[in-house]
Symmetry: D2
Subunit: 331 residues, 4 copies
């Protein structure tokens, strides 16, 4: 028999519970042995479902004696401290995005890895495992669009979480594009300008223009209250042609004078495959000792760009993204 990774999952809300169930149902390489949540009843319920233990605290769960790796899916402010704790314990960790709520926090995780002298963190930008985005990156890398010049991104949700804020649109939603665009084109973001057609209150939608180091420009629309459904699009435009994600749909309907397809209500059906592939690739990578997916450095850089985006939105101007030398560990 091949080895099985003992995984502990911190946070059993929607995202964490999805991860636990995906690991349990679809990832033989991993076994969820422990879960933890401030809501103990919720944690117990889930633990029973998958045959795991409930840890008394996140700190208790991060224990090399009982787990081989950790998934962090607890609230955003806990991401960086828990990631540092996992690093301190020498445990590989898959940390939900954002890696930190501000650049200092995300940098602290990078610094912890640098101090440890090895990469242990994978940041949960699951789009990198989405077959559509992977195929898009392959097309670009294979030269099918010639030299890229522009990237157009659309990121729409049906309804926002009641806690959604103007800044949160950048830090929690747009951050997906702030990670994926540099990854697609292999070039960092140097400048960001974020504006909104809504001047006051909850400033949704938002429109960002990104300038990459290689000159490429990217547009990003994020619309939290787009009303009609969840819709993520990306088109890379180059000197030789274009490549774009195809909106996934299973069935086309014609009825009542309209021909079309249902749009999913949220991100789960759209990215269910991406989460499964992410978790499986991560489990394999830990077993193999070869890191995979977005690094702590990349998670940190996305947070830096997001912070510049928030500043841009506040100040009404384009903001240069502070650059830092990439540590050797991540080259």
């Amino acid at each position: 028999m091949t080895q099985t990774l003992r995984v502990g999952v911190i946070g059993t809300g929607a995202m964490g519970a999805d991860h636990v169930r995906t690991l349990h149902r679809w990832v033989p390489a991993a076994r969820v042995v422990a879960v933890q949540d401030l809501d103990v009843a919720r944690a117990k319920h889930l633990a029973t479902e998958v045959g795991a233990e409930v840890a008394a605290s996140a700190e208790d769960l991060i224990d090399p004696a009982t787990v081989d790796a950790v998934v962090i899916a607890s609230p955003d402010p806990t991401h960086a401290p828990l990631a540092r704790a996992a690093i301190a314990a020498g445990l590989p960790v898959l940390c939900e995005k954002p890696l930190g709520t501000d650049p200092d926090e995300s940098r602290s995780v990078v610094d912890a890895e640098l101090a440890a002298g090895r990469r242990l963190v994978t940041v949960g930008f699951m789009r990198r495992f989405d077959p559509g985005y992977v195929s898009l990156k392959e097309a670009v890398a294979a030269g099918r669009v010639g030299s890229p010049r522009l990237v157009h991104n659309i990121h729409r949700n049906r309804v926002g979480h009641p806690s959604a804020t103007t800044e949160g649109i950048v830090v929690n939603s747009m951050i997906h594009e702030l990670d994926i665009v540099p990854w697609l084109l292999d070039s960092p973001i140097e400048q960001i300008e974020v504006t909104s057609p809504v001047a006051d209150g909850f400033r949704d939608p938002q429109l960002a223009v990104l300038k990459l180091a290689n000159g490429t420009l990217a547009t990003v629309e994020v619309f939290i209250e787009a009303a009609y459904g969840y819709d993520v699009r990306c088109e890379v435009v180059g000197t030789g042609g274009t490549a774009a994600l195809v909106p996934p749909a299973l069935v086309a309907h014609a009825a009542g004078g309209v021909a079309g397809a249902d749009v999913p209500p949220d991100f789960r059906p759209r990215f269910a495959d991406a989460y499964r592939l992410e978790l499986a690739a991560w489990a394999d990578s830990v077993l193999d000792g070869v890191p995979v997916g977005p690094t702590a450095w990349e998670g940190h850089r996305a947070t830096v760009v997001a912070a510049a985006g928030v500043a841009s939105l506040r100040e009404g101007r384009a903001v240069p993204v502070p650059q830092e030398p990439c540590p050797d560990l991540y080259v």
Copy 2:
């Protein structure tokens, strides 16, 4: 820990090896403990890859002492005998389609189950687990097309296997539609007429018209040498509208005066999800003791319809499908 199903897989050619790897990588509920193939080297190679044993023969593999369930992916003529052997051993079995190469063979499996007094066989019509077909059936069941009147099916391959024959187009390819159409509409096929625009030699493509017991008509085009790629379509047309599979595509390309998307070369990318979902659902069903998916009876009926289709093609006329009373075991 939850229970794990010990699975033995007979046949390690393309289909069997895919099943082994899918179980190994994506189905924690199952564990491939044994494989078998006449090509022993091939079996050993695969066994090593997944940590399984190599059984000396199919008969040796079908042993309740070492396996809890069996997957049959060996050549078509072996399906029925091996399915009967599994039934004799009291082992649940997922048998690749077709269940038999003729109605007598497939009926022998039904009779074996009737003798055993319980359902042990699931036939590998994987389309029933394809999210597209499932969504299509749900749409029909929910009344989104009103009362169904017609079903249009397209089933195209890029190139045929060198061993492909005129009759094999019905028995091996069209049989997917002969199973899926009655399933979609919950009504058996009563008549089939198969013709071809090609009068002699390898008669490809073929066009079938099916009449269902509820009056619905279905067209089926099967085109083995369609040249451009693998393409499966299905549209259900009713008094209130239509519902149709959307051809899956990840990325749209525009280049050189053409805007479009790549068509997959074969069925694997198209139905990879279906196979994974099939294997997982089957493993769960065995562990739960609740049969899932196409029954031996349904596999037999598809073979009966296929035989009528072959007769129709030969004789140049519509052929009524012999009806048999459905045994209580399958009601």
Copy 3:
């Protein structure tokens, strides 16, 4: 100044009035100088709108002293007699389909032309001027599908006319496909089988399978009460690929969980361009003395096939299409 064709239009119902207005607004090569209808008030209203005279009868209108050419858009039973009258008067005529309500009638028009020794009749199968069908035929002729093997046709209306009958579905609606398929593939229909999932009463939808002289098979679904809208599709399938009409749509909408496009309620928006191009090409052809479009012979052959289709539907079997030698006039 170039010459202008003086046109008389018989019948000012929906179709005739459309023709008059299209000629008036979009065809400088023609001038509607006379209209006629049993409903004199309707004729007068339209005549005033376009500055034409009202003829006292169809026979009066067919007068070389006042018109250079005639459009026949009166009820179906009048088509053949009026076409013969125009031929007798030596006037070119654009006759709405069907050319005759039965093969004897349509043949009588052919015989009139043969007696006259020249082609004067163009039958109003407007699809031959539709940019989509024209492009489809060009693609087939250019070899883009390789050797054609199958043609799949869909022809759906939202609601039927109150006077619609089971036989009328063949004679009035399917007749479009009975003309277009031989035209697309340049091969006549040799056999037709028409069935319906509805056994009694108004037998709608209908499914036809056509066998062409070159071996190609064609399926035709005609569904008069398809409920969701007007939808015409055609796919030609060959050994090298396929070519299919794209459903025309101007705007895609996303709202309320659905992404799609409006389907037109009837054939007018779908074929408005085809009618305009037909009328302009016909006017030019008359001025140039070079016939264009479907001939009386082709109109007759479509009626012959339709009659065989009606027989097939009645008798529940495939019916061979009576063949006749093509007169030299039409070669």
Copy 4:
């Protein structure tokens, strides 16, 4: 008979010749009686084709004794002077875009109309007559997208004219969007920022962000050397949904592993209908005495925005669009 408009066309290059032929073939309400071009042979050739006279000069052509209205399709620098000459002669004029090569020029035409006390000029922004854009505007006006928040525009050509310049991309190409976006949303542009991923030389593609008076933001990509074909898209995004142009295609092809449709090589097939509808609507409007289409004021405003766009591109910053009170003549 209804009245026919005598039209003189100045400029018989590609655009002018298309207008002459479209009027001749498709617009009975107009008659091309005179053409003029510096290339006399070219003008004569076209005049013979349509039965028109050749005027000795543009000034000679603008003569109410021989023409009732004028089409200006000569080189851009002649647009404003010729439009003023037509106004001076009291002749209605359809003037190709841009109305002027700079705001002073376009304003001079407005001033000439103000002096004349009546509107005589229609600017040739033909997209306003494109059935797609018209349908899009109707959808927005009908509230199908809720309150508009964003508009995304794509405007790609296959290859640029050898004379194409960085500034010309704004002034000649993007100007279409600078007119259409305010028209779609009924709100003027207040700010424009134009950037390019190409820092030097021919700065193509370009990306503009527009701010409208009502707060709406618009993105505009113009890519002259997009290589793959001519492609114009527009999506209006609102609080209730989205509406977007559907790329027109007649036939879908599947061959060689790709399923898709041909992209047109230039704007002519894409906007042939728009030009025809524009010319017919304009001829009718002149005959009826009711102006139609983009006014001189709107043509001037597009030029003002374009000039701000050029300044933005040069200076690397967002540029406010100078506002002027709308003269009563245009309210």
